[in-house]
C-alpha cells in the first residue's frame, strides 16, 4: 500500500481585497488575510479536523481545498500533482474534480429546490463520470442505499424530506463519484443530536469502506473528538496548533486551544471552577501586523515579545506542532 500522503498543503495563503480599488481608486484596497501560511499533510483514510471561531478561516480553507476558491499563494498537491494552479472556474473540467468533493452544513440549501433527490445525486455522476440511462440509475440507487436512503425517497423534493434525509442526500451526492478526499463543512451542526449520531456513523462507515480522507470542519469540539484523528486549530487565518485529537484536547499547548477546550460544556459535568475566559473580540483580519502574534491582546499569557515577533512553530513529541512563544508544554509532554 502506497504510503505517500494523499494531500500535501504547503504555505497556503488566501487574501481578499477589501474596499478601495475600482476604476478611480485613491487608495490601494486593504487585504483581508483569510488564510495565511497553512501547511499540513493528509493520508488516505485519515480524518483531519479543522476547528476555530468564526472568522478563523476554516471555511475559506475548506473551499480552497475543495478548489472552489483559488489560493493567493502556496501549493496544494493531490497524490503529488499540483492542483492549486488551475483556476477554480476551469477546475470543473479537470479529471481531478471527481476526486475532491464536499458536504455542506446546510443540506437543504445545497440542493436545488427544483431537483429531486435522484437528480441531485445523479448530477455529478452524469457530468464527471459520464454515466447515463440504466448505468446512471443503478449507480444512483446503489449510492443512495449505501447512505441509508431508501429508493422510494429518491423521487422526492427537498421540502418533502426530513433534516436527516436531506443530510443523507448531500452525503450521497458527495460520495457518488467515490472521491479520494471529502471536505465536510459542519455537516451535522444543523441536525438534532439523535440524527447527528446516525450521520456520523454513516460517515465513519463510508470512510472505512472507501478509504477516503476526510477534512472535517466543525465548531463543536465534542463532535470533532469523535471522528478526527488529527486536528488543526486555527485563529485569524493561521494554524496555532496541530496534533492528535485526543492529546490536543486533553492537554492543549496553545493558550487559545486551552481557552477553547475550557469553554466547551459537557452534559452532566458541572462548570469547572476556574475557567480561562477570553476577553474581547478577535482582531481585524484586514492588513494585520506582520510582526505580531495574531492572538496577542486576547491571550491570557501574552507578553511584549508577542507583539514584536511572529511566534515560531515548535514541534512537540507525538506529532504535535504549536505556534506560540510560550507554549504550555508541561501537560503536552506528559500526554505524549
Amino acid at each position: 500500500m502506497n504510503d505517500a500522503p494523499l494531500l500535501e498543503v504547503a504555505a497556503l495563503q488566501k487574501r481578499f481585497p477589501i474596499g478601495g480599488g475600482g476604476l478611480l481608486a485613491r487608495r490601494a484596497p486593504g487585504l483581508l488575510h483569510a488564510v495565511e501560511d497553512v501547511s499540513f499533510t493528509l493520508r488516505a483514510g485519515e480524518t483531519l479536523g479543522l476547528v476555530g471561531e468564526s472568522g478563523c478561516g476554516k471555511s475559506t480553507l475548506a473551499r480552497l481545498l475543495a478548489r472552489l476558491l483559488d489560493p493567493s499563494g502556496g501549493s496544494i498537491r493531490l497524490r503529488g500533482e499540483e492542483i492549486g494552479g488551475v483556476a477554480a472556474q476551469r477546475f470543473g473540467a479537470s479529471p481531478r474534480r471527481a476526486d475532491i468533493q464536499m458536504v455542506f452544513q446546510d443540506a437543504e440549501g445545497s440542493i436545488n429546490l427544483r431537483h429531486s433527490a435522484f437528480e441531485a445525486i445523479a448530477r455529478p455522476l452524469r457530468r464527471l463520470r459520464g454515466l447515463a440511462g440504466p448505468a446512471l440509475h443503478g449507480k444512483v440507487t446503489a449510492t443512495a442505499t449505501l447512505c441509508g436512503l431508501p429508493a422510494e425517497l429518491l423521487p422526492r423534493f427537498p421540502h418533502q424530506l426530513s433534516g436527516g434525509q436531506k443530510a443523507r442526500v448531500g452525503i450521497a451526492r458527495a460520495v457518488a463519484t467515490e472521491p479520494a478526499l471529502l471536505v465536510l463543512d459542519e455537516p451535522t451542526s444543523a441536525l438534532d443530536v439523535s440524527v447527528q449520531v446516525v450521520i456520523l456513523d454513516l460517515l465513519k462507515s463510508l470512510q472505512a469502506r472507501t478509504g477516503a480522507a476526510y477534512i472535517f470542519v466543525s465548531h463543536d469540539l465534542n463532535v470533532v473528538r469523535l471522528l478526527c484523528d488529527r486536528v488543526l486549530v486555527m485563529y485569524l487565518g493561521r494554524v496555532v496548533e496541530e496534533g492528535p485529537a485526543g492529546d490536543l484536547f486533553t492537554a492543549p499547548a496553545h493558550p487559545y486551544t486551552r481557552a477553547l477546550v475550557g469553554a466547551v460544556s459537557v452534559p452532566g459535568r458541572p462548570r469547572a471552577a476556574e475557567r480561562v475566559r477570553l476577553a474581547g473580540e478577535p482582531r481585524s483580519p484586514i492588513d494585520p501586523d506582520p510582526n505580531a502574534c495574531r492572538f496577542h491582546g486576547r491571550c491570557p499569557i501574552g507578553q511584549d515579545r508577542c507583539a514584536r515577533t511572529v511566534p515560531p512553530v515548535h514541534a512537540l513529541p507525538g506529532g504535535r506542532r504549536v505556534a506560540c512563544h510560550f507554549p504550555l508544554t508541561d501537560g503536552a509532554l506528559a500526554a505524549a
Partner: protein, 338 residues
C-alpha cells in the same frame, strides 16, 4: 424601573417566599390551525420557575420548547389557540389579561432574549436609541436621562466604550456584541423573569461562555428567574438549576440538573443523553433514537407520544391519561419509568 417601583407594582414577585413560583405554567395546551390540519403543539405542559432560579427547557427541534416560551410571553402566532391550562406570573393570570396589561408587563417584568441577535434588533436605529425606547416606554426615566442610562446598561453587559457604541447601528457590531445588546434590552427594566430562547446559537463557543456567564451572573445578582431554552445539554448542565425535558409537545421529565444526568427516569431523557457526544466516549458508544417525532396533526395521538420510539413500550402505554409521577423535586411522565 428600579426595584422599589417593581416591588410596589409586583409585590408578590418581590417578596415571594422562595417556594412560590414566579412563573407557574399548569397543564398548558396549544394548537395551531394550519392548511394541512390542526397541529397539537403542546399538550398538558407544566413548569415552574422560582425566584433566583434557572430552569432549562431542553428538547430537539419540534419538541415545543419555543412554543412554550412564546405562549408564556403571549406572543403566539395568530393561528395559535390556547386550548387549556393556566399561566400564572407573579400571581397574575396571564391568559385572562388584556392586551394593554400584557404590553405593560412585557419588557418591564417579563422579558425575552431571542435566538438570532440581529433579528431582534431594528437595523435602522442605533442600539442606544433602542434601549432608551424600552426605558421610556416603561417609565422611570425622562427623555434627558435615557441616553445616559442606556449607555450605563451597555457597560453592564460588558460592551467596551459604551457611549460611542450606543450610537452604533447593529450591522456595525459583531454577533456577540449584538447579543449583548439584546441582553441589555431585555434586562433594562430589571424584569422578574427572563426567557432566553437559544441565546447562544450561532455564537462561537468562547463567546457563548462569556454571554451565558453574563446573563446568569446578572440573574443571580438580582434574584431574577430565568428560563433557558436550548437543545444543548451541555449548556443546560452548566447553567441551569433544574431541567425540563420536552418531547413532541409534552414535558416528559423535570428534575434538578445533577439528578437528571445521574439518574434519568424517562426513556427519552436517557436516550437523549446517550446520543450526545461527550469526552471519553467513542462514536460506537453513542446511540441514536429510533423513529421520528409523531405527526402532531393526527387525531389519534396516543397518550404517550414517545411510544413508537421507546424500547420499553407496553400495550397500556397508549391509554389515556398520561401519568405524571411526582416525587421530591422530580416529575416523570411515564407509566414505566426507568
Amino acid at each position: 424601573m428600579n426595584d422599589v417601583a417593581a416591588a410596589t407594582l409586583f409585590p408578590a414577585a418581590a417578596r415571594a417566599a422562595p417556594r412560590v413560583p414566579v412563573l407557574d405554567v399548569a397543564d398548558l395546551s396549544v394548537e395551531f390551525r394550519t392548511r394541512s390540519g390542526t397541529v397539537r403543539a403542546l399538550d398538558g405542559v407544566s413548569l415552574q420557575v422560582h425566584r433566583g432560579e434557572c430552569l432549562g427547557v431542553v428538547g430537539e427541534s419540534g419538541s415545543g420548547k419555543s412554543v412554550t416560551a412564546y405562549a408564556v410571553m403571549r406572543l403566539l402566532d395568530p393561528a395559535a389557540r390556547i386550548t387549556g391550562g393556566r399561566i400564572t406570573f407573579g400571581g397574575m393570570d396571564m391568559l385572562g389579561a388584556g392586551d394593554a396589561d400584557l404590553a405593560d408587563l412585557r419588557g418591564r417584568e417579563l422579558s425575552m432574549i431571542f435566538q438570532s441577535p440581529r433579528a431582534s434588533l431594528n437595523p435602522i436605529r442605533p442600539v442606544g436609541t433602542q434601549i432608551a425606547d424600552v426605558l421610556l416606554r416603561h417609565g422611570g426615566v425622562t427623555r434627558a436621562q435615557a441616553p445616559a442610562r442606556a449607555a450605563a446598561l451597555l457597560a453592564e453587559v460588558g460592551i467596551p466604550d459604551p457611549e460611542r457604541r450606543a450610537r452604533a447601528y447593529p450591522f456595525e457590531l459583531s454577533g456577540g456584541m449584538c447579543q449583548r445588546v439584546g441582553i441589555a434590552l431585555a434586562l433594562a427594566c430589571r424584569p422578574a423573569l427572563l426567557i432566553a430562547d437559544e441565546p447562544t446559537t450561532g455564537l462561537d463557543v468562547t463567546t457563548q461562555a462569556v454571554i451565558m456567564d453574563l446573563v446568569l451572573g446578572l440573574a443571580k445578582a438580582r434574584g431574577m428567574a430565568t428560563v433557558l431554552i436550548t437543545h444543548d445539554l451541555g449548556l443546560a448542565t452548566e447553567y441551569c438549576d433544574s431541567i425540563a425535558v420536552m418531547h413532541a409537545g409534552h414535558v416528559v421529565e423535570t428534575a434538578p440538573t445533577a439528578a437528571l444526568f445521574a439518574t434519568p427516569r424517562h426513556p427519552y431523557t436517557a436516550r437523549l443523553i446517550g446520543a450526545t457526544p461527550r469526552p471519553g466516549l467513542a462514536l460506537g458508544d453513542l446511540a441514536s433514537i429510533p423513529g421520528s417525532l409523531p405527526d402532531l396533526r393526527r387525531d389519534d395521538l396516543p397518550a404517550c407520544r414517545f411510544l413508537d420510539r421507546c424500547e420499553r413500550v407496553r400495550p397500556d402505554c397508549a391509554a389515556a391519561p398520561l401519568p405524571r409521577r411526582t416525587e421530591a423535586a422530580r416529575m416523570v411522565a411515564c407509566r414505566y419509568p426507568l
